[in-house]
Symmetry: C3
Subunit: 249 residues, 3 copies
């Protein structure tokens, strides 16, 4: 086998606009995954290899689930950038933790998850539209893209997945982004404009939910002995403040 053939194994390196957005989503989610792995409730004595794997799981998990459901070979396998960037993101996250001495940065983490979510929702919805799925399935794929990676991480760490419990409208924001994007698409709005509008709205709503502690409701008839206990999670504002002044803690 000659060198040209070998080089062809390294796959396609060109990146279209859909792929660019997908890569932003995967890389950000991988970074978040590596941070999340070291949050106390998720920490299970992971090795360095384990943390990189968790980052990859979080980074490409949503996109792989989406593509498998759409019956495609996952983009994360045909294009090498997904795995390269996810691995690099994990290394950066490990370095940040090492250099700052803060194992888990709640503020940085929350901000980045809010940032990551809309991209995957947009690309999921667009891919599902391309596949000719009915609207309700388009919205479901738009939810799976940004959230499935987190599902795999939570399951791996053995904690109840964030999608099903209070998580500042985690799934709700993904649904909102998908519905909004489909509406703009149906109205004939141009791709970049629809993407930008969807990103800004969903990112804004999620940040508001994080700062204000908005939550999806529990069923009204939940009996008292099943009511959520424990202390509430810190609002994003407090988390950032604490992160900037760690010594106050």
């Amino acid at each position: 086998m000659d060198l040209v053939t070998i080089f062809s194994y390294f796959g396609t390196w060109t990146i279209g606009s859909l792929t660019a957005i997908d890569l932003i989503a995967a890389t950000t989610n991988a970074f978040n995954g590596a941070l999340l792995a070291r949050r106390k409730d998720h920490y299970r004595h992971w090795t360095v290899v384990g943390i990189v794997l968790i980052a990859i799981l979080g980074g490409i998990g949503g996109g792989v689930a989406r593509d498998v459901l759409l019956n495609d070979i996952p983009a994360a396998l045909t294009n090498p950038w997904y795995l390269i960037l996810s691995t690099l993101a994990a290394i950066v996250a490990l370095r940040i933790a090492f250099t700052t001495g803060q194992k888990f940065r709640e503020g940085l983490f929350q901000f980045m998850t809010a940032f990551a979510l809309p991209w995957y929702a947009i690309i999921g919805a667009q891919k599902a539209l391309n596949a000719g799925l009915p609207v309700i399935a388009v919205v479901l794929i738009g939810i799976i893209g940004p959230t499935a990676g987190r599902y795999f991480i939570d399951i791996t760490a053995g904690v109840p997945p964030k999608h099903f419990i209070k998580g500042e409208w985690f799934v709700g924001t993904a649904a909102l982004a998908s519905v909004l994007y489909v509406a703009l698409y149906a109205l004939g709005v141009q791709f970049y404009a629809a993407t930008l509008i969807t990103f800004l709205v969903a990112f804004g709503v999620r940040l508001l939910a994080l700062f204000r502690g908005w939550e999806e409701p529990e069923p009204p008839d939940t009996p008292d002995d099943l009511l959520a206990g424990g202390k509430p999670r810190p609002l994003l504002g407090d988390a950032i403040r604490e992160e900037l002044n760690p010594e106050e803690k």
Copy 2:
């Protein structure tokens, strides 16, 4: 984009007989999932969104796993009725719990799971036969269809999946239904007749197992310190009696 194109996004609404049976299975399983989410051993402070998601997971999970394994786009994505009916089933289950004041109804739940199981087994076996799989794989797909949704719910709630522990021949009944359906198919029995016979036999066996507490055996050499502890699960008869007379509890 014109209105006709937009409407086409809503997908195919026609329902064949295979799809009808698949929808019965999905809807019943979604209803059961929403009930199960609120059983004490599965409850993890789910939000309303979370309970609807669990219902969808339970409703379409088995069918999606089956179709992914058969390398098709899942029927639950191409036909909008799956997601619509699963969501409605979740809402009905939430309403029933709210209006009766009983968060979890063991009797209703057990009865409905027994009812739901054969449909998914039949459709799974038929689809696997259509794909030309060998008999042993047809039976496996016939087991995966009715049980994979429960696997996802149990994993999400962090409890040992019912398939692997005592569960009144949960997997065994799915295997029985699949084997029976394949046998009838090989004998040339007409589709509706084969479906009806398989349903009646599997539903009957499962109800008997539930009423009588029949269980798949544990290995004969299980050491004493590994033997199952805890109190046995209530028989279906007792559960129904308690449900009809909640004040006696």
Copy 3:
């Protein structure tokens, strides 16, 4: 329907060299799965049916995940030998436990997992090369093949998956085998030679890791309160010695 048609349902029984290696991997992993199910940290009062299912999950799980990602119908479904041999392996494992009176044999188990790993890595890498994936994705598929089955078992038993925690270079050895195989392939080494070299190197490295207790490192900055506690896992040498002289225990 005539008998010929019915017989055709039993699928293809011919076995090529790729399939033979894949079957070795599946059968060994199924055997290991049935043993693992009865290790104390994994035991959850499984029934006999449950243990057979866990063996099947461990046996074909990696291959099914690999094939689904490569967008093929899983080989474990189109070829009946996978399910037949996995089921037989589970029965043999149950018999061994019963006749020796040792529910879980750490030495046998570790030795067999080391043996099983390279085969699945080789076949995964080769299949991914055939699919034309970039090298980094070939290595990922080469890792998923031998390790995904264990992931499903660990998730089912509710323990942190071995991939992410200390496990004597479990994932690392799979990565090594994949990289080595791809390198030999790129160098034009013939299939059987490449397979043999990869098997010997990966099996040797894994045995060494098991005997010497080599581990993937934890992040250097892991805070003391997050450090792994508990007693270390026994080295393979000690496990074998104890297994051969159970009365000394």
